[in-house]
Amino acid sequence: MSFAKSMWGASATAENNWAYDYLPKLDVTYDVLRAFDLMAQGKMTGYFCQGFNPLMTFPDRGKLTKGLSNLKFLVTMDPLETETSRFWENHGEYNDVKSADIKTEVFQLPTSCFAEDEGSLVNSGRWLQWHYPGQEPIYESKHDTWIMAQIHLRLKKLYEAEGGAFPDPITKLNWPYADPGEPSPMELAKEMNGSALGDVFDPKDATKVIVAKGKQLDGFAQLRDDGSTTSFCWIYAGCWTESGNNMARRDNTDPEDAGLAPKWAWAWPANRRILYNRASADPAGKPWDDTRKLVYWTGEKWGGIDVPDYGAAFKPEQNVGPFIMNPEGVARFFSRKMMRDGPFPAHYEPFESPVANAVAPKIRGNPAARIFKADFAALGSSDKYPYVATSYRLTEHFHQWTKHNRVNAALQPEFFVEISEELAKEKGITKGGWVRVWSNRGSIKAKAVVTKRIKPMMVDGKPTHIVGIPQHWGFMGAAKKGHNPNSLTPFVGDANIETPEYKAFLVNIEAVASGPIA
């Protein structure tokens, strides 16, 4: 309810079921593989690409180019000149497309980079740490918030003028910002936290107002399902309260040297630093280890240096398990319902493998994984592609970003593949020489790094060679133009969250006289 009030304000009422029908519902998951498959089929015709460079990262680059070429429009929002923004531009062997045949209209919208933005970054410890811009955005680049607000306002105007099948979710979107053209980070953060739309009363005493109308909420416990509160994201309730921006707190006091620093920034939920911290005390509520006590039973309540992840009124003798989000109250070693190939995943070979599945030799890959028909047909087999390839990153680069930086580009300037001395000898490949590597989906050229670090493996009694392919190059930026492993990788995801299978696929390799001609 609080989320609906945040989205549609006064338009979310009990009468219209709190605007539940305004929310789009997914028929299937729209992961990147499905999105690009729909593009390749011509069924997805517009794409917003914000801070992403799919052309160089998602699998089977040939299919990606086909998909992007089928779009009516592509919008890219990025601080860098991404290859995706330039997918239509011919760069010789590095991007050999016929520009005249591509009808996609591309809108390249330069954005500020994170160091030019104000806002919070959330780390894996769930801390929301506020940061301030180091400088103003350069040239014509704009904050993402400005771009999205401008697109929204223009769309809203069009819907207001022309109507449409169901314009309400857009025309009635709550837009309470001082400058509608650019919501400020402060406004968005306060909205994320949430506030009282009317007086909020104590559930135990209906006459006692705990949050007055218009005030920021202190935490998610104050949220109400009667439309009297608003909060864009309940887990963030508490990040910006009446006492100010808790994410900007910089008191690094660390009681008992526990590594919690509870007054540094703010952690969701409720500034709780360690989840299920009740498990740090024994059933009687006494810390298991006196040198590492997080929460404990004082005799009257739960105290300690962390916010208890437990019912405040639960007495130890009630024997409520510490893992309160699980009905059984204890930790789980496996997930019975939430994994497609659970409870215990079995090992299946990758879809492209030199050996058959040990448990089910007639089945290719993981039977619980999704693979589209055309992509299954594009798989190669080890008779034509005898070598196992894998992709990885290098310490000198971060994804596709740092190749735009002269320093990083100098430290690892040119695309290469790595092979063992044994494979190099077998195929007549010299250290630093050019090679061609190809799979059933594409072909690339690279310099060869011949190394003792890679050794042939014995797989199913057969020596199996490996080709290592790092993934940091492209045809834009300061580094030398180069290819990437995604020209070769198969268009298949893992069984549970559709993460593309970049780590194992089949290729062939040969020495060639010279490199690509750009």
Partner: protein, 313 residues
């Protein structure tokens, strides 16, 4: 300009080193623990950034080393060596951060003929003062570690300064600050030796019987030291010299050579004086004058012709 807060101990080609005000400073050192290095090159990036240097974007030659050697821009370089350990049968990836060792007895400074182009501070840092450098390259001949590089742009010699500008204000070098595994540490030489000792004990307990500190006595010890797992074989770390010494040529050039050269110089001066008094000054003969006039005429005729030289090409 040498940083004013650093006291000079030595100055190239000079006898007028000012007396140290306030006594000697404590010797500093950078400790590079090769056994903790992951080869990420963050030190190289930090060096380029702090010193505002920009390396060329090169090519891959089949190895991870980039650039392929120290350059006037790259004052430090990760050198990657893949070594098969015959005792264990394991391949060891030995990654050594190459750069100036800041010798206590600096061969570069000894070899340098330009007054004040190379200095050594009392804290041990050996620094190049580029405004005094004449680009002769003798420092490179004097260096037992093959470190300085001459710029093709300004013809001056460049190498690691041990971030003397940062050290002067109580900071460690940029590379040490950037190192994610604390494989690069910085402090007093004594503290770094003590730190190394702890690491060596640890490495020995892990089976590296020859682990040790590389602080070669042949150059009086260094202010950049390595912890090596195989200190008995420094050469396996991309050719780290076994027992580095200043080239005998430098000793000859600054020692007996200097005396002999001074003698030769005196002999030449005396000879010239004798020649002048006996034979007299050189005169231009009439024949020479005629030849010169002809040459000038010929050149004029060539360039004032109907077709310019460009048109004939």
């Amino acid at each position: 300009m040498a940083n004013q807060s650093l006291n000079l101990l030595r100055r190239s080609a000079s006898t007028d080193v000012p007396a140290v005000a306030g006594g000697a400073q404590i010797e500093v050192a950078k400790l590079i623990d090769v056994s903790k290095c992951i080869g990420c090159k963050a030190c190289q990036a930090a060096c380029l950034e702090w010193n505002d240097l920009r390396e060329e974007v090169g090519v891959n030659t089949g190895v991870y080393d980039n650039p392929h050697d120290l350059t006037p821009h790259s004052w430090t370089l990760m050198r990657f060596a893949e070594w098969d350990n015959p005792d264990t049968g394991n391949m060891e990836w030995l990654i050594r951060k190459d750069g100036c060792m800041h010798c206590s007895d600096p061969g570069c400074l000894k070899a340098c003929p330009a007054p004040g182009a190379i200095v050594q501070y009392t804290n041990g840092i050996v620094d190049f003062i580029h405004e005094n450098c004449i680009g002769c390259g003798y420092c490179l001949k004097g260096c037992p570690f093959n470190i300085p590089r001459i710029s093709k742009v300004d013809h001056k010699a460049y190498k690691c300064s041990l971030c003397s500008d940062r050290v002067a204000v109580g900071q460690g070098p940029a590379c040490a600050k950037a190192c994610p595994t604390t494989a690069i540490m910085f402090g007093t030489k004594d503290a770094m030796k003590a730190q190394a000792e702890k690491r060596i004990v640890d490495l020995k307990s892990r089976g590296y019987a020859n682990a040790g500190l590389y602080d070669p006595a042949g150059v009086g010890g260094t202010h950049v030291m390595y912890v090596l797992h195989h200190n008995d074989k420094p050469e396996i770390y991309a050719g780290l010299p076994h027992e580095p010494k200043i080239s005998p040529l430098v000793a000859a050039w600054k020692g007996t050579g200097k005396v002999l050269a001074l003698g030769a110089l005196a002999f030449a001066a005396i000879g010239a004086f004798v020649h002048h008094t006996v034979v007299g000054a050189n005169r231009v003969s009439e024949h020479d004058e005629e030849n010169a006039a002809e040459l000038i005429e010929a050149t004029r005729a060539k360039t004032s012709g109907g077709d310019g030289p460009e048109a004939r090409v």
